[in-house]
């Protein structure tokens, strides 16, 4: 009889402690979901478009939007001419995000190191480290060498 009473007490205790644990789990889940949704909807910081970082941001936004014409606007006239027939923009940007790593300015030239993280399912991820070269003419920074993901910028004769 005593054993039964102890068992009942144990069961009752278990039932009583279960509810607060379930509430805690629900609160943690809601917080994680809320944080994830907030991050998913949030836009990246905006950089000044007159700086090398700003030009790179404008260029990469066009790349991720698949807008080839807009992406050429951030390049020098000569480079845009070479890249307009490139097909490499069609590949490799789905599920990717770009992060600034390091900017180096040397008078009228600059390099912006970027990190591109690719992931199709949110768990498997691979990283590319790329550098974008820019030059300044008439107070405007422009990309001067084929940037990621253009790799076939050759002007057809």
């Amino acid at each position: 009889m005593a054993k039964n009473l102890v068992e009942e007490e144990d069961t009752g205790m278990k039932d009583r402690t279960r509810t607060p644990l379930i509430v805690l789990a629900a609160v943690v889940f809601a917080a994680v979901l809320g944080g994830a949704l907030y991050g998913a909807f949030a836009e990246p910081d905006t950089y000044d478009p007159t700086t090398p970082e700003g030009v790179v941001q404008t260029y990469l936004k066009a790349v991720f939007d698949g807008d080839e014409l807009a992406s050429l606007d951030s390049m020098t006239a000569d480079l845009a001419d070479r890249c307009q027939d490139a097909t490499s923009l069609d590949y490799g940007t789905d599920g990717a995000r770009a992060f600034l790593d390091k900017t180096t300015i040397d008078n009228d030239t600059a390099t912006v190191a970027i990190e591109i993280r690719h992931s199709s399912d949110g768990i498997d991820e691979w990283i590319e480290n790329e550098t974008i070269w820019l030059e300044k003419s008439a107070d405007t920074w422009q990309i001067s060498q084929p940037p990621w993901p253009y790799w076939d910028c050759v002007k057809e004769q």
Partner: protein, 562 residues
């Protein structure tokens, strides 16, 4: 080349089958000699049958080809060579086998003969099915006419029919249950793919007409193709399953394994995957980064609905085939089913939770982000979908098995539950530890000044440590509780020799005592050992090795020297 592979597979299969057999009354030397002889005999017969069938198909294919403008008759050289060698060799072997079966009736009961019949029947069935699909597709106008396919269909149907006659006359029908189930599985797979595609192509056509898409594809080709699969699969399934397999012993392990794993489980998983796809489409349309029009967003709905309907039917039908489940002494296969469903639900929910956690950490590690392809919200919705589907599936099955485990030591100490727990503890623990190494690696890189954003680098391994690690720890606690609640009984007996017992009794005694059990069959008609009698007789035995003999009354237990 293919037949050589089939021949090797047949030889390997015979060898494996023989090695798994219990010893019979033949001496070991005699048995090995017979096994090797049978192995070569039936492998050669199988090779000859394949050669003749390939040769005949090619020759007949030339004869029934009607649309060829110019043909190269030299292509017949190899098939004719196959026929020239295979036909006499096959006839001689068949004659020899027939003579042996007439002289020694036990020959027809050998596992090698059963294996030959099973492999030859299933091989011919599969080749016939592939050819019949092509012929039917041509008949419905989905493909062009192929004389080769027609010839293959006729020849391999004849090969299959010949072997079916032999199968029907074989003395050990209990061993041929595998063959019937393999045929049923072939029919079910082809038939359900056909059923799913028939529904999907019909719905797609309807969908495109409703959307007014002028550039929409014409699905009548897909539909005709699918109907061919439905007809061929339906016929094979009807013959193998409805007319044969379902009439065999439903309590046998192969039968239950087929129904539970290939029927109930595969149907359930198909339906769940389809439900997830449909739910994800709706969530993305309502909250996510959706396509520009509803028609485009929901273009995978016909396929999803077809998979859902087909999966639910397969699940429902096979549930009705199974006898109602007993809570006491329920068969192990029910446990296998429960724990497999539980694993599927748990893996789905853990994947969802991990993606969600990665997205959560992402929110706090976006420093320096300049641009992204903007699919983040859809990834979060995919994680929510995985949780909405995975958690109820896992929760319902796991709570049920926990209730059963609380009331029964059989359930708690069952092989399925132990395997399930060890698998999750082992795989989960290993994954969590590897992820933890990755976290520490990034932390040390950060301390040494080589990382720009630590949280960004560790967000994935850290999420895996939390989710998969929790799974491993939780199941370790469950395992510990199981051990305390129902410790495995150990009788001190390490080896038991049962004289005159069935395999089922042997396995039950092994499970109960934890000892290694061997069985010897009696040649007289003495009463077989019963499980309860053996357990009662072994009670109080202290010897590590014992012999148990059926006597008609209580079993006689003889302690043996070490």
């Amino acid at each position: 080349m293919t037949w050589v592979i089939l021949l090797v597979a047949a030889v390997a299969g015979v060898a494996l089958f023989m090695s798994a057999r219990r010893p019979s009354t033949e001496s070991t030397a005699e048995q090995t000699g017979s096994t090797i002889r049978r192995l070569f005999q039936y492998a050669l017969l199988f090779g000859a049958v394949v050669l003749v069938s390939i040769g005949l198909s090619a020759v007949l294919g030339q004869a029934v080809t009607i649309n060829e403008i110019a043909g190269d008759r030299r292509s017949l050289a190899l098939p004719l060579a196959y026929l020239s060698v295979g036909l006499p060799a096959g006839l001689l072997l068949a004659r020899w086998v027939r003579k042996q079966h007439l002289r020694q009736p036990l020959e027809a009961e050998s596992p090698a003969w059963t294996l030959y019949l099973s492999i030859a029947s299933i091989t011919s069935l599969i080749v016939f099915v592939v050819a019949a699909l092509r012929v039917l597709e041509a008949l419905f106008g989905a493909e062009s006419y192929s004389g080769d396919a027609l010839a293959r269909m006729i020849v391999w149907l004849a090969v299959w029919a010949g072997h079916w006659v032999l199968v029907s006359g074989a003395p050990r029908q209990d061993r041929l249950v595998w063959h019937r189930l393999a045929g049923s599985a072939t029919g079910m797979v082809v038939g359900t793919v056909g059923l799913g595609n028939t529904i999907a192509s019909g719905l797609r056509q309807l969908f495109d007409q409703m959307s007014g898409d002028l550039a929409a594809a014409n699905y009548s080709w897909t539909w005709r193709n699918a109907v061919s699969w439905l007809i061929v699969g339906g016929l094979v399934w009807g013959w193998y399953w409805m007319a044969n397999a379902i009439r065999t012993d439903r309590s046998s392990r192969p039968f239950q394994g087929y129904v539970v794993i290939l029927g109930v489980l595969s149907g359930l998983i198909t339906a769940l995957v389809a439900t997830s796809g449909l739910l994800y489409d709706v969530l993305v349309w309502l909250l996510g980064d959706a396509e520009s029009s509803a028609w485009k967003q929901f273009e995978s709905v016909p396929g999803g609905v077809a998979a859902l309907v087909t999966g639910l039917w397969v699940w429902w039908y096979h549930r009705t085939v199974l006898a109602p489940e007993r809570s006491e002494g329920r068969p192990e296969i029910y446990r296998v089913y429960d724990y497999l469903v539980s694993v599927a639900g748990l893996v789905t929910s853990t994947t969802g939770a991990t993606i969600l956690l990665v997205a959560f950490f992402d929110t706090f590690s976006r420093q320096g982000e300049v641009a992204g392809s903007g699919r983040g919200i859809n990834l979060v919705l995919a994680a929510v979908t995985a949780l909405l589907v995975g958690v109820p599936v896992w929760g319902l099955v796991w709570l049920r098995t926990q209730r059963l485990a609380a009331g029964s030591g059989d359930e708690t100490n069952s092989v399925s539950r132990r395997t399930y727990l060890f698998l999750l503890i082992g795989v989960g623990g290993t994954t969590a530890l590897i992820s933890l190494i990755s976290v520490f690696f990034s932390v040390f890189q950060s301390i040494l000044g080589e990382t720009s954003n630590l949280l960004r680098d560790i967000r994935i391994p850290l999420s895996l440590v939390i989710t998969v690690g929790s799974v491993a720890v939780y199941h370790w606690l469950v395992f510990k509780r199981d051990r305390v609640a129902y410790p495995v009984e150990s009788s001190g007996i390490r080896s038991i020799l049962l004289v005159g017992a069935t395999e089922e009794v042997g396995k039950a005694v092994a499970h109960k005592t934890g000892a290694k059990v061997q069985i010897l069959e009696r040649s007289d008609d003495a009463e077989m050992l019963a499980f309860d009698d053996v357990v009662r007789a072994l009670d109080g035995q202290t010897s590590a090795r014992v012999l148990v003999v059926a006597t008609g009354g209580p079993p006689q237990v003889v302690p043996l020297r070490h």
